[in-house]
Symmetry: C2
Subunit: 520 residues, 2 copies
């Protein structure tokens, strides 16, 4: 589709708040206007609405294929975890104790005032925690399942809800309950476990970039940012349009921490009882927050074609007269020929939206939801064998009106798959270029950090620096310095040239690069 240059003048956008004016408000507006989710009335919990849940279903389907492809098998483990399971691993419990929902009773009774209260007679002997993550309960199962070296590697995954009682919540990014997948694997030794940890990390990197069109940087996190109980935590970090970092997925090498706590031991080839090495890795509905803040614009969401519940929406311009029948027949034929195409190895998802309502209202509802291609078909289009098409990723306006490209119907059908692929690529390229332009490599000391991240700077990006990878008290000092600027070390990008020079924090020889950023 050829479209003239975007005419920025006098544009009224579909949202009543722009990114540049108030990014947090804009984020809420996209969620509301694209009908992705809403507050539920239950503290910190959201209702995920059809378009938002549809994106999650796409994420589930495509991630699940990759998980199965790697030989990992899906299981389902209990929602409730006895307190004693947690108590076995001190660091893990310390990391989660502050945010756990605890079940203490299994029955309600009338309070005599028309209300209900937990029945004191039905108090649990041992309280149950609603899983914040499942290492402990899956570890207990692994201890039963792993007997011999022949049982390893043991590769499991579950799709589940988890609960972390967050004090400040934000839809998709930080909710008390969220949906995720958690992979849990057990291996004979560190080398095999680390290979799996990195396999999962690479799976997440390619998923984020190839499916969500969201560029990320993968690497190990510093010691102070590790998952409670992990020996090494790796993350993928994405840059949002306000320059902040979003940890979009993590993969942990857990050493023998959880194997010791749960007793995951196997008889090795020499007949010795040996502790297994475990890993865990997860991504969650948080990814949807990442998609919004990577691809949204002032007209709402732009949904990457691979995860769009509908990739093409056809809007017939109904007139409530005799012509409607022929128009609908034309649209239905168009729908059927599009639905036969394959894009990204699957059938094209196309919807003919026949609901009553004003065509322009319906158009803007789909624009805000970010459906990649929108077709408006009027009576004349139908007669002339034409379509009027709109690419959501480069919505443009002239004289305040959205301009559709008029095309011959057959030409559109032929080009549709190519357009969807082009949109997917364009969204990625745009996000990657913006991200790359916002990684600052000229800052070489803490004072430079303070300048770069000065309070009045709008949407600062990330700073890449070298450091000496301090540990213990020396690391604490760096973390404190950064904390004063509301900064954290996101991760250590993998690959790249060897580093030289000295660490701006410790003065010692630098050993690696780190990314410093504000973060969600």
């Amino acid at each position: 589709m050829n479209q003239p240059k975007n005419q920025q003048s006098a544009i009224r956008h579909a949202l009543n708040v722009k990114r540049e004016d108030d990014f947090a408000q804009w984020y809420q507006a996209v969620i509301a206007e694209a009908e992705l989710a809403e507050e539920s009335g239950v503290r910190g919990c959201m209702v995920i609405k059809p378009w938002g849940y549809g994106i999650w279903e796409r994420i589930q389907k495509l991630m699940d294929e990759r998980i199965k492809e790697a030989g990992v098998e899906n299981c389902y483990f209990p929602l409730f975890i006895p307190l004693s399971y947690f108590a076995k691993e001190a660091e893990h419990v310390e990391g989660f104790a502050k945010e756990m929902a605890v079940v203490t009773h299994h029955r309600l009774i009338q309070d005599g005032k028309g209300g209900l209260v937990p029945d004191p007679e039905a108090k649990l002997e041992e309280p149950l925690v609603v899983r914040p993550t499942s290492e402990t309960v899956i570890g207990a199962a692994m201890a039963r399942w792993v007997q011999s070296w022949r049982d390893l590697p043991l590769l499991t995954n579950q799709w589940a809800n988890v609960v972390r009682w967050e004090m400040r919540t934000r839809m998709f990014l930080r909710t008390s309950e969220f949906l995720w997948q958690e992979g849990h694997t057990a291996h004979a030794d560190e080398a095999d476990a680390m290979t799996e940890t990195l396999r999962a990390l690479e799976m997440y990197r390619s998923f984020a970039e190839d499916v969500l069109a969201m560029p990320v940087i993968a690497g190990p996190k510093p010691e102070n940012e590790r998952f409670p109980g992990a020996v090494e935590t790796f993350s993928i970090e994405a840059m949002m349009q306000d320059g902040k970092a979003l940890q979009a997925g993590t993969s942990h090498y857990l050493g023998t921490t959880f194997a010791e706590a749960a007793g995951i031991r196997y008889q090795d080839k020499e007949g010795q009882q040996t502790l297994a090495h475990t890993t865990s890795w997860g991504v969650s509905t948080r990814l949807i927050g990442g998609v919004i803040m990577t691809h949204g614009d002032d007209d709402g969401l732009r949904t990457p074609p691979q995860v769009a519940p509908q990739q093409i929406v056809i809007l017939p311009m109904l007139r409530d007269n005799d012509g409607d029948e022929a128009l609908l027949a034309y649209c239905e034929e168009l729908r059927a020929s599009l639905a036969k195409q394959n894009a990204f190895g699957e059938r094209v998802r196309v919807l003919l939206d026949k609901r009553p309502g004003k065509a322009t209202q319906k158009r803007w509802a789909w624009v805000k939801k970010g459906v990649p291609l929108i077709l408006e078909i009027g009576g004349r289009d139908a007669e002339g064998g034409q379509v009027s098409a709109l690419r959501r990723d480069r919505l443009w306006r002239q004289d305040g009106k959205v301009n559709f490209a008029a095309m011959a119907r057959d030409a559109f059908v032929e080009s549709a798959v190519g357009e969807l692929e082009a949109i997917q690529n364009a969204l990625f390229a745009e996000a990657r270029d913006r991200r790359d332009a916002q990684i600052e490599r000229g800052v070489t000391d803490p004072a430079g950090l303070a300048t770069y991240f000065a309070e009045d700077r709008k949407f600062p990006g990330w700073v890449e620096m070298v450091w000496s990878k301090p540990t213990g008290a020396a690391l604490d000092k760096v973390v404190e310095q950064l904390k004063a600027l509301k900064l954290t070390i996101r991760n250590t990008p993998m690959g790249g040239e060897p580093v030289s020079g000295s660490c701006p924090f410790t003065g010692e020889p630098a050993v690696e690069r780190i990314l410093i950023a504000r973060a969600y």
Copy 2:
């Protein structure tokens, strides 16, 4: 595949307990030996293992297609429900109060003795219930979403875990936590809501019969068996091999009960504020229990091809010598040509099981899991272009050995889809014939019931009787009489001839048929 008659003599079966000897023990044995699930160590909660979860994934996929086909949209609602939501609907709360898990705290602290306790400082102001079902919390969302008659019907569904604190649990059939889908819809009037209730019921009936090969009888339940808060509850009832009934799915017309409690009101075409009529309908992991008790035999599970995670398993008879390479290449080619076939509108699911281990051990593991077709391929088969095939639904033995049918490879590939369809049909026909033979229509009074269901009778079936559909105290009396015999009225089969005669319980004119049975 032609197979000689089953030679019953001197057969040693794969399970160490037979159905006829101890059905309950047999059920546990199938679950253990087919590696479907196991006790988790958390009271009443199970771990669903890969083969069991794989069946659930198949159920989810095929049911979800039907749900979407009906225009119902998936959403996700909170796990936690504030107590006050429940208190609004007295009958509903009375039905569930006795079995609700209650969250009272959101933080743990050290107890000073190395353990953990709920932090008294972190007590919730209002306790939260872990959803036993979601009418109340979805009703609250519907009250926000429904404003005008244009918003109706509102058709939503969620796939979720729910918790009902059961005192006596049994894997898949009755667990404290289980997985299900719950459809929730709102309509302008009773007629539209009832149409949806019956649509869901018919969806469940056809799913049970066409996909799970499990014959069911659909119909309304008597008043005393209604879902708490429902105006009418319909069920599908399946007969297990021990003659007991399993309620395998329910669909409820809820009238305006929940609309009143949550305030689901819309402006009708005349501008009046009007209460919506709602429905809910669900099936759960209980269906897997139904599949086991419908199709299992003394060698384990027989998994219906449509829900089998693998439909064909190829077992190469590896010899750890030079011949293995050619054998594996032959098997891989065979796998690839089978995987290209379509059965039931999807690609055939075929696994080449290359894991080390003795071939017969591996065979019996797959027999117990109930994979529909098992192929054993030895070196000679590979050289001769043959396969040795086994149909799991009619496993037969001669002289204590399982006899495979030898076939030309190409002939097998050509017939495979037909065999899978034949297995699906054969499992259904077998279950239907058994069920039909076990519905007793000759019992005409309560004394006859006592005889038919006498304690020493092994695996009694169901009794179909007529009755006058009493209500209130008269119904209570019937229920009490049946309870003394451990019987319940399952439902009123829909369709069929008009009834005549008088009700054996009340003496009044009979108006409909009922099914009386022991039940899970």
